[in-house]
């Protein structure tokens, strides 16, 4: 019942959020200097050519009318046509979405595993040299931005010790039997571990670059709340029952300590998705972020609008998932 209420409430706020995003992106990219027609025409085009092309894309109409045309199209599932590629925006964007989703989720999993391991180890050996070393590593991971990690990784594992691919999503010469664009997922389902290994070897470094700063945040926050939880009465009571330190941490403390971290991971994950824009560019990874940069360079207005809207949908969905997870993990909320 409460979960249903959360969902309904969320759906309402999502509609308002998306409407706001639509308005802002539509008008802001038209205020910013540069226009798509100028990008398309060869040098020496006449005023008449410009006018004709503008009319073709509806760019000669008043802004509000243009907005209305776009919005009514979107509501019917038509996101317009990309100016630079002359293909429908929706198809382009949805075609790239799986690549970015796989990259982000892979990065999130890496961040949770690395950060969780750091936090648990740090708590288990708190007050000693191990915890000190973990704190130093966390600090370093946090003070270097994701794209710089990307460059460092390329240097380490792409150049000095070339074990991973530094560009693309999959080796181009491979024959792909996939019917969706979820390559990583589909290669597993089809038990094509050869392809899976190739995809992972491409994805590993960009995902790790995205994951490292988030892992550091998770590690620090989770360790902090684990250490606080370890002093609570119910943990002390569990010790008297005969449980060892490791089991006390995992059984008694982890679940309660994970709650505040979870909220933060939700917020940080949206930053991580934002980070894919630069990381995908750096690794020539064919995802939404890379497409977004091309769209901005080409002043491809409909495509920019489509990508931004899709990002907004992803952010809202991530926040919704976090809220639902929180309700599942915290029994006090479930019955409230």
């Amino acid at each position: 019942m409460p979960i249903l209420r959360i969902l309904l409430l969320r759906l309402l706020t999502t509609v308002v959020t998306l409407a706001g995003v639509a308005v802002i992106v539509f008008f802001v990219i038209r205020v910013v200097p540069g226009n798509p027609i100028a990008m398309m025409l060869p040098p020496g085009a006449t005023e008449a050519d410009i006018a004709r092309l503008s009319a073709l894309y509806g760019l000669d109409k008043p802004l509000v009318t243009q907005f209305w045309i776009w919005v009514s199209g979107v509501l019917q599932g038509d996101f317009g046509t990309s100016i630079s590629t002359r293909q429908p925006v929706l198809g382009l964007v949805l075609g790239r979405l799986p690549a970015t989703l796989e990259l982000s989720v892979m990065a999130l999993v890496m961040a949770v595993v690395l950060g969780g391991a750091a936090a648990l180890t740090g708590t288990r050996y708190r007050g000693g040299r191990t915890e000190g070393a973990i704190d130093v590593a966390n600090g370093m991971a946090l003070s270097v931005p994701d794209f710089l990690w990307g460059l460092i990784l390329i240097l380490l594992f792409g150049v000095l010790m070339p074990v991973f691919h530094i560009s693309g999503r999959v080796t181009p010469s491979l024959d792909l039997p996939f019917s969706t664009n979820f390559y990583l997922f589909e290669s597993l389902i089809r038990l094509r571990f050869d392809l899976w290994a190739d995809i992972v070897a491409h994805m590993f470094m960009p995902a790790l670059a995205l994951a490292i700063p988030l892992a550091a945040i998770i590690g620090q926050l989770l360790k902090q709340s684990l250490k606080e939880t370890m002093n609570l009465d119910y943990v002390t009571l569990a010790r008297t029952k005969g449980y060892g330190e490791t089991r006390v941490i995992l059984r008694e403390a982890l679940r309660n300590a994970a709650l505040p971290t979870l909220t933060l991971v939700g917020v940080q994950f949206t930053f991580l998705i934002g980070g894919t824009v630069i990381i995908e560019r750096l690794f020539s990874y064919e995802g939404l972020g890379n497409m977004a940069i091309d769209a901005v360079i080409n002043r491809d207005l409909p495509l920019i609008q489509g990508i931004v809207l899709l990002f907004a949908v992803i952010f809202t969905a991530v926040n919704l998932i976090v809220d639902l997870l929180y309700a599942v993990l915290n029994p006090r909320l479930r019955h409230a």
Binding site: Y234, T236, R239, K241, G244, R255, N256
Partner: protein
């Protein structure tokens, strides 16, 4: 064999002042001993030392804790932990914070039986149901499926008491088990602990600052001041004629609810000075070997 013997137990803050000064006491099987004293006297510290839950800021500098003849302080840590889990239990002070908010009640009673003592889940569940009935909780099955936040403070303390008796321990440390409760609930809980203790024949170290409680449930008591046992006596003798001036003053200071006109009788300054001098003399003696 005595259930618990503590000999010359000394505890101090790491590189700091002593918190327990050569504390000695013993506890026969099925006996209840009160540990009384003002806050900071070290009464809880004794219970924590026995259960192996001293905070990391504190260290044991000497002495023995013999649990049924075995010195816990000489056991390797893992053995000591298991030994304590199998034959000791804690009734904590605050029932609102002593249950894990994200686990159901049932597993919090049975966890020790299943994980440490190797019972089957079915037997452990049956045992938990039996215990909850014994502490007069209606509908034990529903309560076992509940989360702590769904239950009142009094209910939770009953559950913690049931859980403490689950493995039929030889020794229970009750750390001010009624202090956090409503006055009306305090009496019931005290009666409940006394009843359970009598039925199960468990030895209890009863930490409290309330001499009234001691007179109701304990057979013997240790009066502590500044980590030193100033008096060790049978409860009946103590209430008739306390031997040490400090414990006499402490007894006189106990408010009498039956006589509201009596007012408060704080421990006189002269008595405090005298007992402080005693502690100082003890420290000097220790320092000179």
């Amino acid at each position: 064999m005595t259930a618990l013997v503590i000999r010359n137990l000394s505890v101090r803050l790491r590189k700091g002042p002593p918190l327990l000064r050569r504390v000695s006491l013993d506890l026969a099987p099925g006996e209840v001993r009160g540990l009384v004293g003002e806050s900071g006297a070290g009464k809880s510290m004794i219970g924590k030392a026995v259960l192996g839950i001293l905070p990391p800021s504190v260290e044991i500098t000497g002495g023995e804790i013999l649990l049924e003849g075995t010195d816990l302080l000489r056991l390797p840590p893992a053995d000591r932990r298991r030994r304590i889990g199998a034959s000791c239990a804690l009734i904590p002070q605050d029932p609102l914070t002593a249950l894990n908010p994200s686990h159901r009640i049932g597993p919090q009673i049975t966890d020790r039986l299943v994980d440490i003592l190797g019972w089957t889940r079915r037997n452990a569940d049956a045992r938990a149901r039996e215990l909850l009935a014994e502490v007069q909780i209606p509908d034990p099955d529903r309560v076992m499926r509940s989360y702590p936040h769904e239950l009142s403070g009094g209910m939770r303390q009953r559950i913690l008491i049931a859980s403490a008796f689950a493995a039929e321990p030889r020794l229970i440390v009750a750390d001010e088990p009624t202090t956090a409760l409503d006055v009306t609930v305090q009496k019931q809980i005290l009666k409940l602990i006394a009843g359970m203790q009598a039925r199960h024949g468990t030895a209890i170290l009863f930490v409290t600052h309330d001499l009234g409680v001691v007179s109701k449930v304990c057979q013997r008591l240790s009066v502590l001041y500044s980590g030193m046992v100033v008096e060790d006596a049978r409860v009946a003798d103590f209430f008739r004629a306390p031997r040490h001036p400090y414990s006499a003053a402490l007894l006189a200071a106990t408010p009498k609810y039956t006589d509201p006109t009596a007012g408060l009788n704080p421990v006189p300054d002269a008595v405090i000075e005298a007992v402080r001098a005693e502690v100082a003399a003890f420290d000097r003696e220790v320092a000179h070997g």
